[in-house]
């Protein structure tokens, strides 16, 4: 029974994500989301009590989705350099297959902090994703592939770079496909973080 409810919640989040991406976060209403799923508005509230609650659940959903992918990479017995490449590939793959997810992260979560101030303090709602990035850094330093430094200087370099590239892609500024940049970006990030 719980699984069925969870499945429905995920359907709602996915529809909401698509509507947010096409119509914008503030222009999309709960009735719009209900309509897209042929649900009654009243029934929608059984799943999410408000749009703000839905917004917070969505960012957790994205974080869990990406966190799970990164965990699989972290658990592979490969070098830090290979992990770096795989994380970049995975991030760009998600940006291509589920652009609404990365779009939500960059344009809604990071830009509308007032929606997330209660219940998503600090990095609570992106915990799964950040945890895996931390483990990637920690294991890289431990095996002496990566240089010891402040976490945020490394995190900002890595995620800021990837977020910027996806943003440029979303603005149709990039002349090439995201995947065409993987080699150079892997080289740049690894060179910046490594002990070499």
């Amino acid at each position: 029974m719980l699984d069925k409810k969870q499945l429905k919640k995920e359907q709602i989040m996915q529809s909401a994500l698509e509507l947010f991406a096409s119509k914008g976060f503030y222009s999309t209403t709960i009735p719009d989301i209900a309509l897209s799923l042929k649900m009654s508005v009243g029934n929608m509230y059984n799943y999410f009590k408000s749009k703000d609650v839905l917004a917070r659940e969505i960012i957790k959903y994205i974080s869990e989705y990406l966190g799970k992918k990164l965990r699989e990479i972290n658990e592979e017995d490969i070098s830090t350099k290979e992990k770096t490449r795989k994380i970049i590939e995975e991030y760009f793959k998600t940006a291509s297959l589920k652009p609404e997810m990365i779009d939500y992260f960059l344009r809604i979560y990071l830009s509308n902090r007032e929606v997330f101030k209660d219940g998503c303090e600090g990095m609570i709602c992106v915990n799964e994703f950040v945890t895996e990035i931390m483990i990637y850094f920690e294991e890289g330093v431990k095996c002496k592939d990566l240089r010891e430094q402040d976490f945020f200087s490394a995190f900002g370099l890595f995620m800021g770079y990837l977020g910027g590239m996806v943003f440029l892609k979303g603005e149709n500024v990039l002349p090439k496909d995201l995947n065409d940049y993987v080699d150079d970006i892997t080289f740049n990030i690894y060179k910046a973080l490594s002990t070499e």
Binding site: E121, G122, I124, N127, M134, I135, G140, E148, F151
Partner: protein, 293 residues
């Protein structure tokens, strides 16, 4: 006359720190009413060290302090030979302190093949294999006198002590030093903000405190019945563990912000999840002195 247990305190390669810590036991009179030292390095005893090595004096418990090497002698006899002789006649052997248990600081003494009695740091030693069933380890640098005395009373009363993998009584070593630490509020909310000697702040995050991954009862059974390192404002140095002494005791080894040693039994993902939640909140009360004059 009261039936006292007869105890031999044998010092191997040691600084006598355990001997001195033992002298702070607050109920010594009662202890000496129940136990008698046939030999002790600083307490008057019936026999001299020469008597101990040249004869076989009846004895119930052998206490060994200090790291052990075949090369090291007492009264011109190898400590290994003294141990072998008395181990045959005693009921129990107790390795007193971290050097006798794991090698400790004196593992670096320069004597050939120096180690603890049954462990060379955390590796089982091949020496004294036949004595494992007789041995109880009470590690610490020095050992807490109450841990030693209570272990001796357990032997006297024939109480079955459950031991951990290093032969330490679980009664005292199943806990961590973190258990009972008065700074736990600061640990919970990840507030280090500590200055040595001051009463506020957790020392785990920056100041090298090893309490969350060190086994012992220092914050449950207080030293001199009043204090512990962490209560007094000094980080736990992990002195009961086979890894003692580590280097850089006053700074926390971290890899990109994650402490290299995490609390015992806590997985990295669990730790990071909890840390992420705690760090999201700033608890003003814990950021400043509690009693601010």
């Amino acid at each position: 006359m009261k039936n006292k247990m007869r105890v031999l305190w044998l010092s191997a390669i040691a600084c006598n720190g355990n001997t001195h810590a033992f002298l702070n036991y607050p109920y010594m009179e009662q202890f000496l009413d129940d136990f008698e030292f046939i030999y002790h390095p600083v307490i008057d005893s019936e026999y001299s060290l020469e008597d101990i090595v040249s004869k076989e004096i009846p004895c119930d418990i052998l206490l060994i302090e200090g790291a052990i090497s075949k090369e090291f002698q007492r009264a011109d006899v190898s400590v290994v030979d003294i141990i072998e002789k008395y181990s045959k006649i005693v009921q129990k052997i107790v390795t007193v302190g971290t050097c006798a248990t794991f090698g400790g600081i004196f593992r670096e003494s320069g004597y050939e093949e120096t180690s603890g009695m049954h462990f060379d740091q955390d590796k089982p030693s091949q020496k004294f294999q036949d004595l494992i069933d007789k041995t109880i380890s009470v590690s610490g640098c020095p050992v807490h006198p109450e841990v030693l005395v209570n272990t001796l009373y357990a032997i006297k009363k024939n109480a079955a002590l459950k031991l951990d993998n290093f032969l330490r009584p679980k009664e005292f070593y199943a806990y961590t030093i973190h258990n009972g630490c008065t700074r736990n509020e600061y640990f919970e909310y990840k507030v280090d903000n500590h200055q040595f000697g001051k009463l506020e702040g957790c020392m785990f995050y920056d100041h090298g405190c090893q309490a969350p991954f060190t086994h012992g009862s220092c914050n449950k059974i207080l030293w001199n019945e009043i204090n512990s390192k962490t209560r007094a404002g000094l980080s736990c140095m992990g002195c009961t563990e086979p890894t003692f002494p580590r280097q850089n005791l006053f700074s926390t080894k971290k890899n990109m912000a994650i402490p290299e040693n995490l609390p015992v039994g806590v997985g990295k993902r669990v730790y990071l999840t909890l840390a992420g939640i705690s760090k999201a909140f700033k608890i003003d009360r814990l950021e400043k002195k509690l009693i601010d004059d």
